[in-house]
Each structure stands twice: as structure tokens, then as C-alpha cells.
């Protein structure tokens, strides 16, 4: 679906990958007067796994909402060079969002919940059925299509939420602390699932988290943010020679990555506030 005709596309850093999102000097203040984001610039290229990391109140969720097109900017601009832009000036159909809560409709079955994005596009149930079952298979919930959300565990609900995000085959997957409320084992399992998806489908992921370990495990690029007002503190790649799989967790490289990320986060928090961290 890449539109190669678009004239105003600026040459991206990597020649064969066009940027999906370009945020330029974005500031965002709320009606209460709080400056949530100050002069933030961020370009996300296709195929990246970017983690937005920072203390609470650093505007990472706000940044993610702006990337999704849900929130408008106060000053600066946001553009989606690879997407078809609809009448409202928002990207159409290329972006999916996974919230911190599973955000499922309790009155719909698992199947019905995953069907939602396609239903809103006017795709009939019969036509959508194969894609829905494929998305459910990806997250390992094929046998639960007829179940209602209340019958599922927290981790399973989150998987449904991910299946719903994947069913439209988006280019960009935005995840806002999706596993923060889950137990450690489920969280690690879902981290591996997301990585597998990222590798297999070539999807681009922007992942908001406040966990150093999660971001170091998952992403090949880390954007560390600073609070009051929210802004970018550091932006660096995190390459590894190993495969990001459970064994990576115990490797020396992972330890070094965590240390690097942790040091940058401590810098961002500043010496005064660092005492609050353990």
C-alpha cells in the first residue's frame, strides 16, 4: 500500500524505509493549562520497534495519542507520510491502538470484539470471518471465539485486544503500557508474542512503558522522555546480536542494554527525583 507517488516525502534516514510518523516540534497543552508536551520531534520509520520510556507525567501517553491521531496538537505538526489521509486529516486504517486496559465490549463475544474494526468499515461477518479467525490464531485464542470477555483471564483479554488491533493488518501498532496490569509471567509471555508478531509481520510498533527491563527487551530504539514539561531526553538505537527471545533475558548483552537504558532514565529523572526510584 506504499504510495510512491507522493511528492513531498522527505528522504528518510534509511533509504528503503519511508517514515510512518513524523512529529515536528509538537507541543500540547491541556485546557487546565498544563503543558503536557513541549517541542517534541520524533520520526518513526517502517519496521522499527520504538519504546517511549519515562517517569509518569512525562507525556508519553499523550505523545502516543497524538501519533494515533486521537489527540490534536497545540503547536507543531504531525504527519503520516505513508498513510492515506481522510477528510478529517487523520490516517485511515493504518494504525491500531492497544490500551492499558483490554477495552473489550462485554456484551460481545471474543469473535464480535475482534470483528469490530472490520464491522465499522462495513465488512460483512461472513467476509470477515477468515481474517478474524486468523487474528485469533495469531494470539492463540482460536478456541475461544465464542467466549465472552468475562470468561477470560486478564492475559487472555489482552490477547483479544491485540487480535482486534491486528485484524485490520495495520502498518503501525501503538501500545500504551499494555501489560502493566498483568503478572510477571503473563507479561513475559505476551512480550515474546509481540516480538514474534513484529518479526513475522514486519509491523512497526511504538510501545509506551515505564519499565526499563521491558523496553530493553523489546525495542530496537528507545526514546527516553523527561517530565514537566514532557519532552524527549534521549533517543538511541538498541541493537543486539542475539535473538530477542527468553534466553536473551539472561545474556550479558541484555544486562548492558538495561544498564544503558537505566542510566539514561536516571538522567532524565534528575538527581533530586532519583531518590524516589528504588
Amino acid at each position: 500500500m506504499t504510495d510512491l507517488q507522493s511528492p513531498e516525502a522527505s528522504p528518510p534516514s534509511t533509504p528503503h524505509k519511508r517514515p510512518l510518523v513524523v512529529m515536528t516540534n509538537v507541543s500540547k497543552s491541556f485546557s487546565s493549562g498544563t503543558l503536557a508536551l513541549s517541542d517534541m520531534s520524533l520520526t518513526v520509520a517502517g519496521g522499527e520497534f520504538v519504546s517511549l520510556l519515562g517517569p509518569s507525567g512525562c507525556g508519553k501517553s499523550t505523545a502516543l495519542r497524538i501519533i494515533s491521531g486521537l489527540g490534536d496538537v497545540t503547536t507543531g505538526s504531525i504527519d503520516w507520510p505513508s498513510s492515506r489521509i481522510n477528510a478529517k486529516g487523520l490516517p485511515e486504517g493504518d494504525i491500531s491502538f492497544v490500551f492499558q486496559e483490554p477495552t473489550l465490549m462485554p456484551w460481545q463475544t471474543v469473535f464480535g470484539n475482534v470483528y469490530l474494526p472490520l464491522r465499522l468499515r462495513g465488512v460483512s461477518k461472513a467476509q470477515a470471518s477468515d481474517e478474524i479467525m486468523a487474528a485469533l490464531e495469531t494470539v492463540g485464542l482460536k478456541d475461544f471465539a465464542k467466549a465472552y470477555p468475562r470468561e477470560l483471564s486478564g492475559g487472555m483479554k489482552m490477547r483479544v485486544s491485540i487480535a482486534r488491533a491486528l485484524v485490520t493488518k495495520p502498518k503501525l501498532l501503538l501500545m500504551d503500557e499494555p501489560f502493566a496490569a498483568l503478572d510477571e509471567i503473563t507479561r513475559q509471555k505476551l512480550n515474546d508474542d509481540v516480538l514474534r508478531l513484529w518479526r513475522e509481520t514486519g509491523i512497526t510498533v511504538v510501545f509506551v512503558t515505564h519499565s526499563v527491563f521491558e523496553s530493553a527487551y523489546l525495542s530496537n530504539r528507545i526514546v527516553v522522555m523527561k517530565a514537566r514539561p514532557g519532552r524527549v531526553h534521549a533517543d538511541f538505537p538498541l541493537e543486539t546480536s542475539l535473538e530477542r527471545a527468553p534466553l536473551y533475558r539472561t545474556s550479558e548483552e541484555y544486562r548492558a542494554a538495561c544498564e544503558k537504558v537505566s542510566a539514561s532514565l536516571l538522567e532524565a529523572i534528575g538527581p533530586g527525583a532519583a531518590m524516589e526510584m528504588h
Binding site: L70, N86, E92, F99, T103, M105, W107, L120, T168
Partner: protein, 272 residues
């Protein structure tokens, strides 16, 4: 060995007891009533025995049955109108904050004014007494449905609303696929309250209107029996009203259970 069967019979026994116990209590109360009347020698025109009431029910069935039918019709018609009006106006009110600010107070004024106080006016303006009764019952039943609907439509999960925005859902799609289903539990509460209130309002309005003749309902028959000191018939009319109320409650509760039991917390059986 077979764990399912003893628990099944236990469940079965519980279901049977659930029916038997309330029925037993009602029968016991009727027996006490009967014994009190026969042993104390209270005259029939003050407190008739259950037997006399049953006799009146059979003897006066020709008068009571059409009245029951009239009251049932008014109640159900008022409830149906209240449902349509409550849901329709609820959807209209949530379209914008200003619409709600402008019109919600009017609904409140209609609600808080005692129905007996408006009934004379409605009687003057309505073409027939039946229409007047219908309007009164509607006004009373309408508000709980409206206020529950507005509450329900506004209580939608914000993240789900964001999700619908993200997928470019139209206003109509958001209403049909999100807001209406999400407000179903609230609607059901409104339905149950409205069902009970429409019967009460139909009776109160008929007291106020005092209609007579072929088209009169149970409330008029009740008053008429009182004037004639036909107390057994009064009791018979009263019992028919109670039965009608119970049936409406049963039906609305069943509808609520039917539509919610698969997903909503209120209809789930807690197991722990």
C-alpha cells in the same frame, strides 16, 4: 464417582424451594386471614374472608374482567410509549451538552409535579378519558426510563469511545454498536421501574379522572365497590391489580435477565 449428579439434584431442589417457599408463605397468610375473620366474627362489610373474596371474584368476573383488560391495556400502552419516548429523547439529549442543558430540566419538571395535580388539566385537554389516563401513566413511567437511559448512554467506557474514533466510526455506528448496547443494563433498570410505575399511574389517574361506564378500569371498579360497601368485590379488584403488577414485574425481570445474563455482572451467579 459422578460429581455432576448430586450437585444437579441439589440445584434442582433449590429451584423447587425457591418456588415453594414464597407460595407457602402466601398460603399461610391467607389461612391466617381466614382464621382471623371466622374466629373474631368481623362482619363481611368490614373484612371479608378469603372465601368471600374468591366468591366475589367468580360472581363479578363479568364486571371485573373487562376492567382488568382496560387497566392492562392502558398500563402496557403507556409503558410502550414511555419506552419509545425515554429511549428516543435520551438519545436526543446526549447529542450535545447544550441540548441536554436546554431540555433535561423540562423532563424533571414534568416528573416532579405530582400526577394527581396535573390530571385535571390533562382531563380537560385530552379528547377522551382513556387518552387522559394514557397520558398520565406515560408521564410517570417515562422519566425513570429517560434518566436511566441518559445515565447509561453517558457511562460508556472512554477508551472504547476512543477506539471507535480511531477506527473512524460514524455517529450512527457509535450509537448502534457502542452506546445503546452499553446502556442496556441501565435501560433494563428503567424498564422495571417504569413497568411498576405505569400501573400505579394508571390507577391513580383513574381515581382522579373518575371515569365510568364501559371503558372503566379496575381503579374505578374499586372506588365503585367502596361506595356500595361491596367490600369483597373491592378486595377482588385489589387482588387483580396486585396480580397484574406481579405479572408485569415478572415479565420485565425476565426480559432483563434474557438480555443481560450472558454478559452483565448483575445477572451472573457468583461462584466462590
Amino acid at each position: 464417582m459422578n460429581a455432576a449428579s448430586p450437585s444437579l439434584t441439589r440445584q434442582h431442589r433449590e429451584t423447587v424451594l425457591r418456588v415453594l417457599i414464597p407460595v407457602g408463605v402466601v398460603l399461610a397468610l391467607i389461612l391466617i386471614w381466614h382464621l382471623t375473620v371466622t374466629l373474631s366474627g368481623v362482619p363481611q362489610y368490614i373484612l371479608p374472608s378469603p372465601g368471600a373474596v374468591a366468591g366475589a371474584m367468580v360472581k363479578d368476573w363479568g364486571t371485573l374482567a373487562p376492567a382488568l383488560w382496560v387497566t392492562t391495556q392502558i398500563t402496557l400502552a403507556a409503558l410502550a410509549l414511555a419506552l419509545i419516548g425515554g429511549v428516543g429523547i435520551g438519545v436526543f439529549l446526549i447529542q450535545s451538552k447544550w441540548i441536554e442543558t436546554a431540555f433535561y430540566p423540562i423532563a424533571v419538571i414534568l416528573q416532579v409535579t405530582p400526577i394527581v395535580a396535573i390530571a385535571p388539566l390533562i382531563l380537560i385537554y385530552a379528547p377522551t378519558t382513556q387518552v387522559a389516563l394514557l397520558v398520565c401513566a406515560f408521564l410517570v413511567a417515562f422519566f425513570p426510563i429517560l434518566s436511566n437511559m441518559v445515565q447509561g448512554l453517558k457511562s460508556v467506557d472512554h477508551n472504547l469511545l476512543n477506539l471507535f474514533d480511531l477506527y473512524g466510526a460514524s455517529r450512527w455506528q457509535t450509537l448502534i454498536y457502542l452506546k445503546l448496547p452499553a446502556s442496556l443494563p441501565y435501560f433494563m433498570t428503567g424498564l422495571r421501574i417504569g413497568g411498576g410505575l405505569s400501573l400505579i399511574a394508571a390507577v391513580v389517574a383513574e381515581f382522579a379522572a373518575g371515569s365510568a361506564g364501559a371503558g372503566s378500569g379496575l381503579a374505578f371498579r374499586l372506588l365503585e365497590a367502596q361506595y356500595r360497601l361491596n367490600i369483597p368485590r373491592l378486595f377482588a379488584a385489589l387482588i387483580l391489580l396486585s396480580i397484574l403488577g406481579v405479572v408485569i414485574f415478572g415479565i420485565t425481570s425476565f426480559i432483563a435477565w434474557l438480555s443481560l445474563h450472558r454478559w452483565h455482572e448483575s445477572s451472573l451467579k457468583r461462584e466462590n
